[in-house]
C-alpha cells in the first residue's frame, strides 16, 4: 500500500479508533452511555466468537440473507427482463410494480407476520421484497436503455429472439443490473437486522435486542460492526463482479 492510499484509507479509521479508545478510557462520555473502549469491544468480539454465541446468531442471519437475496434478485431479474424485453409483460406487470415499488420493505412486516407467521420464512420474505423491486427496476431500465439497432442488426445476422436476449440484451444491461444488485446486497443486511429485531428470536438483530435489554453496549457495537462489515463485503463483491464482467468493454 503506498503512502497516499494509507493516509486516505486507513489513517482516518485509526484516528477514529484512537479517539474512541481515549474517550472511553478517560471517561469523557456521559456515564449513562456505558461507552466501552475499542479494545473492550474487540475482546468481547473474540469472547462471543469463542463461546459460539456469535456463530449461532451470525450464520442464521447470513443464510436468511443469502436465500432472500438470491431469490428476490433472481425473481427481480427475471420479471425485469421480461418487462424490458416484451411489451406485453410490461403492460401486464408494470402497473402492479409501480404500485408496490414505493412501499418500504419493512412496511410489509406486520402483514407478513399475520400471513406467514413468526418463523424462518418471515425474514426471508422481507429480504425477498427488499431485493425484488430494485433489481427488477434496474433491469428494466438497463434493457430499455439499449439502442434498438443492436437488436435489429442481430436479427439481420440470423439471431433468434432468444439468442438476442441471452447474447445481446442481457450482457448490455449488465451494468444496470449490477448497480441494482450492489444496492440491494447492502440493503438485505439492513433489512434482516430490522426484521430480526422485531420478530425473530435468532440472528444478529435478535442478539442486538438481547444486548440492549442487558445494557451490553459492547455487544451492540460488535453487532453493528458485523452488520457494517457484511454490507461492505457484499457491496465490494458486486463491484468486483461488475468490474470483472464489464470493465473490458465499458
Amino acid at each position: 500500500m503506498n503512502k497516499s492510499r494509507f493516509i486516505s484509507g486507513v489513517l482516518p479509521i485509526l484516528v477514529l479508533l484512537g479517539l474512541w479508545e481515549a474517550v472511553a478510557r478517560l471517561h469523557l462520555a456521559p456515564s449513562s452511555f456505558f461507552f466501552p473502549p475499542f479494545t473492550g469491544v474487540v475482546r468481547e468480539f473474540f469472547s462471543l466468537a469463542a463461546n459460539g454465541v456469535l456463530g449461532k446468531n451470525f450464520f442464521p442471519s447470513l443464510i436468511r440473507v443469502l436465500i432472500g437475496f438470491t431469490a428476490g434478485s433472481l425473481c427481480g431479474f427475471i420479471v425485469g427482463t421480461l418487462m424490458g424485453w416484451k411489451k406485453v409483460a410490461e403492460n401486464a406487470f408494470g402497473p402492479v410494480i409501480s404500485l408496490l415499488y414505493p412501499i418500504p420493505a419493512l412496511g410489509w412486516l406486520p402483514l407478513l407476520m399475520l400471513w406467514i407467521g413468526i418463523n424462518e420464512l418471515l425474514p426471508i420474505a422481507i429480504i425477498f421484497i427488499a431485493c425484488f423491486f430494485p433489481v427488477c427496476y434496474n433491469t428494466i431500465t438497463g434493457i430499455k436503455g439499449i439502442d434498438s439497432n443492436y437488436m435489429q442488426v442481430a436479427r439481420t445476422l440470423g439471431a433468434t429472439e432468444w439468442y438476442i436476449l441471452t447474447h445481446v440484451i442481457i450482457p448490455l444491461a449488465f451494468p444496470n443490473i449490477f448497480t441494482g444488485l450492489r444496492l440491494v446486497s447492502g440493503m438485505a443486511w439492513r433489512v434482516i437486522i430490522a426484521a430480526e429485531m422485531v420478530a425473530i428470536p435468532t440472528g444478529i438483530g435478535s442478539l442486538l435486542m438481547q444486548a440492549e435489554s442487558l445494557v451490553r453496549v459492547d455487544i451492540i457495537i460488535v453487532c453493528l460492526i458485523i452488520l457494517s462489515a457484511m454490507c461492505f463485503v457484499f457491496e465490494r463483491f458486486f463491484i468486483y463482479m461488475e468490474h470483472t464482467m464489464t470493465a473490458r468493454w465499458r
Binding site: 435489429q152 442488426v153 436479427r155 439481420t156 449488465f174
Partner: protein
C-alpha cells in the same frame, strides 16, 4: 431474374415502390434526409411492417422474419456490439446460426485478413478508430455469406480520405463476390463513384432509377434536378483526343479538356459548386481557364448562385455566401473561371 424485387411496397413512409435490383448489381439509393432511404432498406431486411411484396431471386419473402432473410446489413451507426471483441463481432452471425464448424472459423479468419483486422481481432470495438469500426461492421455483415448486402450511409462519420478508401474496398469486394448490394447515401459524388445504377428517392417514392450519368445528364423531374444541383451541360461539337486519358472538346466557342475513356463524347457537365472563381488570374496551365463576367447573383440558403457569361455561354457557379461576400463579387465584375477537371462528367455516345 432480379436479385431483389419490390412490388407495390408501401408503409408509413414509402409510397407504392416498384424496384428491380439485378443479381450482383450495386444499386445506390440517393436522396435527401427524410426521403425514405433507410426505410427502404428496413423493408428489404424485414425489420418494419409494409404492404406489397419483396422477392429474393423470384421467391416471395414477405413472411420470412429478418433472421431468415439472409441479409447483411450495415447500419448507419454500425451498431457494433460493445461487449464483444472484433473477432466475436464478426463471428456473431455464424454463432447465432449455429454454424460453428471449421469452415466458419476459416471464414472468420479470412474476413479478418481481407479487411486488415487480424492484428486487432481481440480488441473490443470501443477502442477502435472510425475506419476500423466500419471494417468490422462490413466484415460482420459479410460473414454469413448473405444473398444481399444493405449499407446505410456507412461512411458518413469518416474523414474523406478514409471514406474514399473504404468505398473502393467495398466496391472491389462487392464485384469479387458478385453480391447484390443496396447502398444508401445522400452524397451525390459517393453515389456516382460506386453505383451501377442510382435510385433517386424523394418523399418516400423513387423519382428516377437509371445509370449515374443519366441521373446527372437527364434528370427526369424537377426534384431530381434540384437535388443533383442543376449542372452546367455543354453539348459536344467536336472531340479530339489529346493524350491517354484526356480529350479536348469544343462546345461553341468554349474549349474544354475532359477525362477521356476512349469513347466519343456527346455531352459534358459540371456542377456549379465545381466551378472555381477568382478575381485574380488562376495559377497553373491554361487548361479549362476562362475569363467571364458576372451576370446575376442569387443568394439562397447560405449559398450564392453566380451566373456568368463566358465566351457566349452561360455558366453557373456556386459559392458559400460568406465566401462570395468576402470576395466582393458584384454584378458586372470580371472574374477568372476554372472548370475543375476532376469533377467534369462526360456522357459518351452509346
Amino acid at each position: 431474374m432480379p436479385g431483389i424485387e419490390l412490388r407495390g411496397v408501401s408503409n408509413f413512409i414509402l409510397h407504392n415502390i416498384d424496384l428491380k435490383i439485378h443479381d450482383g448489381e450495386f444499386l445506390v439509393v440517393l436522396g435527401p434526409n427524410g426521403a425514405g432511404k433507410t426505410t427502404l432498406l428496413n423493408v428489404i431486411a424485414g425489420l418494419i411492417p409494409y404492404e406489397g411484396n419483396v422477392l429474393f431471386n423470384g421467391a416471395q419473402i414477405d413472411e420470412l422474419p429478418p433472421y431468415r432473410r439472409n441479409i447483411g446489413y450495415v447500419f448507419q451507426n454500425l451498431a457494433l456490439f460493445p461487449h464483444l471483441s472484433v473477432q466475436e463481432n464478426v463471428a456473431f452471425g455464424l454463432n447465432a446460426q449455429k454454424r460453428n464448424g471449421e469452415d466458419s472459423e476459416a471464414r472468420i479468419n479470412s474476413l479478418l485478413h481481407t479487411w486488415g483486422l487480424g492484428n486487432i481481432a481481440h480488441r473490443y470495438v470501443g477502442t477502435l478508430s472510425g475506419g476500423e469500426r466500419q471494417k468490422v461492421a462490413i466484415a460482420r455483415a459479410l460473414a454469413t455469406q448473405p444473398q444481399a448486402l444493405l449499407l446505410d450511409e456507412p461512411f458518413t462519420s469518416l474523414d474523406r480520405g478514409t471514406s474514399i478508401y473504404l468505398q473502393r474496398e467495398i466496391k472491389a469486394i462487392q464485384q469479387k463476390l458478385g453480391i447484390t448490394t443496396v447502398y444508401v447515401t445522400h452524397n451525390q459524388r459517393e453515389a456516382e463513384e460506386m453505383a451501377d445504377r442510382i435510385a433517386v428517392m424523394h418523399d418516400g417514392a423513387i423519382e428516377q432509377l437509371s445509370r449515374p450519368e443519366d441521373v446527372f445528364f437527364s434528370p427526369r423531374s424537377k426534384r431530381v434536378a434540384e437535388f443533383i444541383g442543376s449542372p452546367n451541360i455543354f453539348p459536344c461539337d467536336t472531340h479530339r483526343r489529346l493524350t491517354r486519358g484526356l480529350a479536348e472538346i469544343r462546345s461553341g466557342d468554349l474549349v474544354i479538356v475532359v477525362p477521356d475513356d476512349g469513347e466519343t463524347v456527346r455531352k459534358v457537365a459540371i456542377l456549379p459548386r465545381d466551378v472555381y472563381l477568382s478575381k485574380n488570374p488562376i495559377p497553373g496551365p491554361h487548361i479549362n481557364r476562362y475569363i467571364g463576367r458576372i451576370d446575376r447573383l442569387t443568394p439562397s440558403m447560405g449559398h450564392t448562385l453566380i451566373r456568368l457569361r463566358v465566351t457566349g455561354h452561360t455558366i453557373l457557379a456556386e459559392q458559400p455566401t460568406e465566401v462570395a461576400q468576402r470576395m466582393g463579387l458584384a454584378v458586372g465584375d470580371r472574374v477568372h473561371v476554372a472548370l475543375m477537371l476532376k469533377w467534369i462528367k462526360v456522357l459518351s455516345k452509346p
